[in-house]
């Protein structure tokens, strides 16, 4: 978890890694432009965003009722529902199901919730081999790396780095041609799919009225994961619900457009229950693990709307901070603007107090968010909630500042002192300021404050209408 020095250090490492910064700039700017183009081509996107936001807000206001309905619907179709209050419980439940199934080899499609509960190490400790089947996550896994983006996990890697990882892990011949690399991974994974006995997925949306699980992928691996193995475990955050099947329409219209600029993901899989007697394929067993892990604490409070997030990643792509530091600097499963809310809220504010402060509050995230979460406003609230734990020097500086600003005489006296404290060089600029202003001149100069302030100008020349 991030400590003050830890975060600053990771930022310094990231910013000095020119290759990383360039890779993330190129990828995120490309995605921003794709997203904007796809929204321009859409009829009345604002109405759809409003509708989607309303659906999520309404669901959250009545979440216990919808959860109950969802659990009944899943059970009615022959699925089994498990409730995990925290990450440890979720890991225990999944490992228990895996053990009972007797599986030795499991496949997984991309799921941030499984990252959140650190599922893979737990399964491996239980004696299972688990293989990531999303191409990006597969590369993360074979390179013993961590995802740095919630949609495009290897946004930080160049294709040369991917090629080197593939050679190391599966002993193929070196090529950095993305199409060739994809073919190699595909052949490798096809063999795994043939032999696997357990499939683990996340869930993009769960439908309360029908018990349907909606899983969106671009590579077909999600569909393979839920059809080929005997047992399917779906790990789903409790906030992923929508009330009705028809509510999927605005969500699906927004999700992939916001993520990648695609009108639809290539595969949109709807699963309702395990294999029925008259169905030729699908798993024999379906387990839905509902994950709370701090979410229900947010219901009814200042931060409830954070649970509206559909994990599209648009705010990461739009964020000029993320673009410059990449995902790993956040040291959290969910990086970027939404991560700077989710991580402190789920994992503890005081251990992650740097994250909400790592934002200029420029609002690009809010403008991009398909469900209109007021990310900057909520970041300010988290700053408020952690203000008392800020270093004494900072709290004292703020108290001093407020003392100066609540009296015109003190304000003006401070203004008069400023040119004495901040002296410009011969060129009229301050290149290395003393004290707290040194942080300013870390990367920029400061113009020497003019001797004549506006208010003295007003008194001497402007007041009488000259």
């Amino acid at each position: 978890m991030s400590t003050p020095t830890g975060f600053k250090q990771r930022v310094a490492d990231a910013i000095s890694d020119a290759r990383l910064v360039r890779a993330v700039h190129l990828a995120t700017l490309h995605k921003v432009e794709s997203r904007e183009a796809s929204f321009l081509a859409m009829r009345d996107p604002e109405a759809i965003r409003d509708a989607a936001a309303q659906i999520k807000r309404r669901t959250l206001r009545n979440l216990p009722r919808y959860l109950e309905q969802f659990a009944e619907s899943v059970a009615r179709r022959g699925g089994q529902v498990h409730f995990a209050p925290d990450a440890a419980a979720a890991r225990r439940i999944v490992c228990e199901i895996a053990r009972a199934s007797g599986a030795k080899l499991a496949v997984k499609s991309k799921s941030m919730a499984t990252e959140e509960i650190e599922l893979n190490p737990a399964l491996e400790a239980a004696g299972l081999r688990i293989v990531e089947t999303d191409l990006g996550e597969f590369i993360v896994q074979i390179d013993r790396d961590r995802p740095s983006h919630i949609v495009t996990p290897i946004i930080h890697k160049t294709r040369q780095q991917v090629a080197a990882a593939m050679v190391r892990a599966i002993g193929c011949e070196y090529t950095d041609d993305p199409a060739r690399l994809t073919q190699i991974a595909r052949a490798y994974l096809r063999d795994v799919f043939q032999r696997c006995e357990l499939g683990i997925t996340g869930v993009n949306f769960g439908v309360a009225e029908t018990g349907t699980l909606c899983i969106c992928t671009n590579e077909g691996n999600g569909r393979m994961t839920v059809t080929r193995p005997r047992v399917h475990i779906a790990l789903m955050g409790i906030e992923k619900l929508v009330p009705r099947l028809r509510d999927l329409a605005p969500m699906l219209k927004l999700l992939s457009r916001s993520s990648t600029g695609q009108p639809m993901t290539v595969y949109t899989t709807l699963i309702t229950g395990p294999r029925a007697a008259n169905e030729p394929d699908g798993p024999r067993e379906l387990h839905v693990v509902l994950l709370d892990n701090g979410r229900s604490r947010l219901l009814g409070g200042d931060y409830e709307s954070v649970l509206s997030c559909i994990r599209c990643g648009a705010c990461l792509n739009a964020c000029p901070v993320y673009r410059n530091i990449g995902g790993h600097a956040y040291a959290s499963v969910y990086p970027g603007p939404i991560g700077s809310l989710v991580t402190p809220l789920l994992a503890g504010l005081h251990r992650n107090a740097d994250l909400p402060r790592a934002s200029s509050l420029c609002g690009a995230c809010q403008a991009a968010c398909p469900v209109k979460i007021d990310i900057p406003g909520l970041l300010v609230k988290l700053r408020r909630d952690s203000a008392a734990a800020q270093p004494l020097s900072k709290r004292a500086a703020i108290a001093l500042w407020a003392w100066l600003m609540t009296s015109p005489a003190r304000y003006e006296a401070a203004q008069g002192l400023l040119p004495l404290l901040l002296r410009g060089d011969a060129d009229g600029w301050i290149h290395a300021a003393p004290g707290p202003a040194a942080a300013w001149t870390h990367s920029r100069d400061l113009p020497a404050p003019p001797r004549e302030t506006f208010r003295s100008l007003w008194r001497s020349r402007l007041q009488d209408g000259a």
Binding site: P320, Y411, H442, F454
Partner: protein
Amino acid sequence: MRRRRSFAPLRRSPAANPRSVRAGLPGVYNPPVRAALFVTCLTDTFFPRAGEAVVRVLRHFGCAVEFPPAQTCCGQPAYNSGFHRAARDVAAHWVEVFDPYECVVTPSASCAAMISRHTPELLADDPALKRAAERLAERTYEFSVFLRDRLLVDTAALLRIAEPFTVHYPCHARGVYSVGELCASLPGEGPNGLRLPRHTDLCCGFGGMFAIDQPQISGAMAGDKLDELAATRAELVVCNEAGCTLNLMGSANRRGMCLRFRHVAELLAESLGLLEPAP
């Protein structure tokens, strides 16, 4: 985001003729509007010329400009960094200072947004002050919005800028004016006109205390912004936010880039012959 307000003009005469205003003739309708200038702490301290330009332009269009001498800061730096107790005290002082005035004009969109969006909520513990803040929120204007909506001035038609120029949209103006409105307040695109950067609304990395809290990230963001501004090959940047200007001009100077940053009020005052061109 919701448009900040729709309002009934307080003193606009039915005979007001926007065309004559457009021609730059002062005082054509029911003058004067009395406007209290909230110059903001940064403009007061670092950019007195922009403050002077605001005064001269408002007077040119028939406003009686007052400068409440007890004004300091709106409290935004503390608000944004989460120190809401300190922000509340400074905001309370601001409300007490400006309460007697008919309308307030400020050269900063971020301060205008602070006042209209956050000041009332900060003063929730004092119902009378909160009501005063709500009333002030309704009659506080960012300078260019005031010119457009209250004085019916078409700044785009009045500005005479003799060189190619580009523009920076201050992020915290969201909800005060849009990118489109900012561009509409300036002469149109062209080789010797406005040259839009790739992303007009890309953040410059200032963010108030953020610039001090996270100097490395802030510096990298300023670099991104300056690259986009420089790519337009214009050397004049219209920037209506003192914080962004302080950050961008300082970052440009550190990098040895020759970019000049001006508030639209300065350019307007120069165009109208109210200020000597800047050196």
